[in-house]
Amino acid sequence: MAVSRDGRPGHGPGSGHGPGAGSARKFPTGANYAEALQHPELCFSDPDLKHGTVQQSPVLGPKPISGNFASVFSVTATNGQRYALKCFTRDSATLGKRYSAISTALGGLGGPGAGGLSQPWPVGFDFLEQGVLVGREWYPAVKMTWVQGTGLINWIEGNLHDPAALHSLADRFLAMTADLEKNGIAHGDLQHGNLLVAADATFRLVDYDGMYVPALRGEQATENGHRNYQSPSRTAADFGPAMDRFSAWTIELALLAVATDPGLWTQLHDRQGEFLILSEMDFKEPATSLAWPVLLSHPDRRVRDVAGRVKGFLGRPTSALPPLTADAVRLPAQRRAPAPASASGAGGYGAGGGLGGSRPTVTSWTPAASGASASGVPAWMAGRIAASTAAPGVTQSPVQQPAGGRAGLSGFGGRSAGDLAAALGALLSTSVPGALVLAAAQPVDVLPAAQGVALLTSAALVGFGRRRRPEYRAARKRVRELKRRSRELADPASLHQRLEKEIRVLDDAIAKDNTASDQRVQALQLELRDGQARITMDLNRRTDQAQQQLAGLAAKERRRVDKALEPAIRAHIQDKLRRTSIQDARSLSNMGNKMVQALQDAGIRTAADFIGVDFSHNPSVVYLVRPGGQRIRVPGIGEARATALSDWRQGLEHRARASAPTTVPPAAKAQIKADIAALRRTHKAEIKQAEAEALQKKAALQQRITDERGRLTGQRQQRAMDTQRRRAELLQQQKQLAGAEAERGRVEAELGVVRGEARGALGVGRYVRFLVTGR
């Protein structure tokens, strides 16, 4: 592994502009890098890159692969070596330090093989302090060996119908996480995008930005990993060797589940969804998840068990989760008593270590959807259908167990309305003419003719009734079938072809049915998601108003109190003004006794006897305004005196207001408090009501969707069982073509037997006896 410690020493002219440790600086954007990389000869200092060729996108220049905090470009050096260059779009002062620690730790792991790693998952890299020159500054970059591999989601989709491959990938994944655990390393962001599968089906783990190695103990996480792979309780403080556990379990569960039953992928993975089979909402709101019920009630015990464990992790702190080990995902009966985690790490690269041969035997299931021949049954059908039909290899002669069944050949059973009608009709048609004869004494020659007709009629009725019997029909059908088979056995090649075609039609039909029901299940999931969102929207709309009203209640209460105080304040002011004699106005500089006398003469004896002055129409004509609004002129009061009087009165009022009561009488106050409390209760009740309704609606929606899905699953199981049974029959018939001659003899013999029985046990005589006695 080519892991150097700190990249190349900074010697470029731009190094002076480098970031001081700890200071956040604005990093280039992805587009800034893409623009700079249009000129590799200018933007790189690393010789491999400087003279290399940057891979281009069809339209927009250098082709990026972007993540949350970086864009990666592909650069091929002149010697043909291809590199992935990771350019950071977010500053992290500790980037260099972290990469150096990671480099040391990964470098010490040793290569794959005995005692080393289970597979060559680590990817070599160089941390370049002077990675890319953008503008006038150098920015760090990580230069990695380009990994040829397939993203996990694409790989799963390409191998969906190869359970063996999926199972061994699950083993490899487990072995890789064991490697990490054993060395006290955690990746920090285990998710489909960072897991590449190489051509030999071993993993390559990429993106080490968030990686924990023992030397980084005490640091904080710089990212919390992909939301669809993390425990809801994970925080930056969880940076440590256990931080991958939740995601590791989640991924292992997904791999095991789809290896066991590929239908789970179609049902639970959204096309283009950024997750495998479980996503954030399944972790955050497990109660409304559709995925958990499917997994937890899956017929395959191991899927159920592992799903149950993962679901049990949801409420727990990430550091308290157990490591993912081979033993932990075995069925209890297959578990080894003491299972040290390290034991699973020694599987050996390429050997698919871990679970090895201890896997349950359901893996031979190939679904009809794949078009291949079904040589087993899906796990969920185990125990639901008889062993003979579950395993077509078991000898089972169609002659001995015909489609129509042979029960009817033992005779008639249970008279129906039709039988009774036949019996009655037959009875009447034979007896009535007799009765007529006796009653009317008809001429003798009439009698035989009438009796003949009657007998014919009754025979026809009996024959009709017999032919209507299910036993008789089954026997006839069986006879026809045997005849056809006998004919076909004379020409085994065409029979083989017919059977072949029938099997194909059967497979096509079930594949189509399954696809349709998978799509329907997906559509249901979408319907649930959107339906829940709509209910939330509606709830928000309804509660918004009530929330605003609630928020405004404090202000409303203040306004009510102020309003309740107002009369008391007004009375207090009025009282103070009334107690202030107009004589006191003599203290004003421009008011003498004469003026005060004039005011008193005009009826203004206290400060309460006028409310203001008015000289708005004509400054030379001044009015005093009486409390009733009427205006009076007082001789000698001009603009200046009027203004002084008005100010004097306002001053008095102002002082009076300051001494006015500030508390509302207890009764009024209690009333206000009660009113506000009532409003608060009302709004809270509205909100509660809306929330309860929303909850109810959500529950009803979920119930409907769950029921619908249950119905679909039931139908699907029924169809699969029917198909399996029919398929087994057809295969058996095909198999027996080898001995076509002997078979034909047997068929002919059986034909004879069935015909004989049809004549005997189901003959007219028996039917007449049956009509009469019911046996």
């Binding site: 470029g12 002219p13 731009g14 956040a24 604005k26 954007t29 992805g30 587009a31 893409a34 623009e35 700079a36 249009q38 000129h39 200018l42 200092s45 996108s57 069809p58 339209v59 927009l60 220049g61 082709k63 990026p64 692969i65 972007s66 993540g67 949350n68 864009s71 020159l133 503008g135 006038r136 993203g151 998710q191 995008g193 992909h226 939301r227 669809n228 959204d270 096309r271 283009q272 969804g273 950024e274 954030e280 998601r529 959107d530 829940q532 969102a533 709509r534 939330t536 929207m537 928000n540 709309r541």
Partner: protein, 280 residues
């Protein structure tokens, strides 16, 4: 908690840019050492942003449709798509289609560091989706109404997704009436993840100091600025913390509004206003 929905191909985000194309947008504004018409500065910024979004959403197999993007121009007697080339006339376009269909890719000269202390002139490829257009009045009310229709439909189709973000870039007062009620109507649409976000940017040529992401209208000079402030949504928490990391002073009531924007704050406005919750 609102504004936390995952943005993915199955749950895409929605950006609607409303670009003022009135006659006054031809007035000059400072751009480095030279001056450029405002409309040119704005369309350069939008073109650059479309490249930025495309890069941000690029994966191994190409650009993913994490977003659908509309660029709507409003000016003389016209409110409608400002895309040119193959996308002309289209409203919301999935990002992969945007990325693959610029109207043209221009070769622009740029001085870059030669790595040895000097500068060297090179040409860089610059994809263009929209060109500057300037003509007539500022029918902002109609433009907001246009966005309202797009947003209403989007919200109906994506009830659980991240709410649409509408970014309005203008240099003048609405000439077709008070846009307040149109803005209120637009912001009344919501997904389960929260109401629609409307951010406003006022471009200026006056050269005064821009007021970026204010949290009250106190410092705003006039009623027009106050009106735009009131029309603008409060920044969701992830944009707020991003704005803070870019050196802006923010509070819980910081709004997506820039007044008297210069060339730098136009870019910042677009950068912060289109900042998504984590993209994977």
């Amino acid at each position: 908690m609102p504004y936390t929905a995952e943005i993915s191909r199955t749950n895409p985000g929605c950006f609607i840019f409303l670009v003022d194309q009135s006659a006054s947008m031809s007035d000059p504004m400072e751009s480095g050492e030279t001056t450029q018409p405002r409309a040119e500065v704005v369309s350069n910024a939008i073109n650059r942003l479309l490249t930025e979004l495309s890069v941000k959403c690029a994966k191994e197999e190409g650009v993913r449709d994490y977003f659908h993007v509309a660029v709507i121009g409003y000016g003389h007697n016209r409110v409608g798509s400002a895309y040119q080339g193959t996308l002309a006339g289209r409203d919301l376009v999935p990002l992969s289609e945007v990325a693959n269909n610029p109207a043209r890719v221009e070769s622009r000269t740029k001085k870059v560091s030669d790595g040895a202390g000097g500068l060297v002139e090179t040409s860089v490829q610059f994809p263009v989706w929209m060109d500057p257009v300037t003509n007539g009045g500022t029918p902002m009310t109609r433009a907001l109404g246009y966005a309202n229709t797009l947003v209403g439909h989007w919200v109906d189709m994506h009830p659980g997704g991240f709410p649409p973000i509408v970014l309005n870039l203008t240099d003048g007062e609405s000439t077709d009436g008070d846009p307040t009620s149109a803005a209120i109507g637009l912001a009344s649409h919501a997904t389960a993840d929260g109401p629609v976000l409307l951010f406003n940017l006022h471009v200026s040529g006056s050269g005064g100091a821009p007021i970026t992401f204010p949290d009250s209208e106190e410092a705003l000079p006039d009623t027009y600025a106050k009106l735009l402030f009131q029309m603008s949504s409060v920044l969701p928490s992830h944009m707020r913390s991003y704005a803070a990391s870019q050196g802006h002073r923010v509070s819980e009531s910081t709004r997506g509004f820039v007044y008297n924007a210069d060339i730098v704050s136009i870019v910042e406005f677009l950068d912060i206003g289109t900042r998504a919750t984590e993209l994977r």
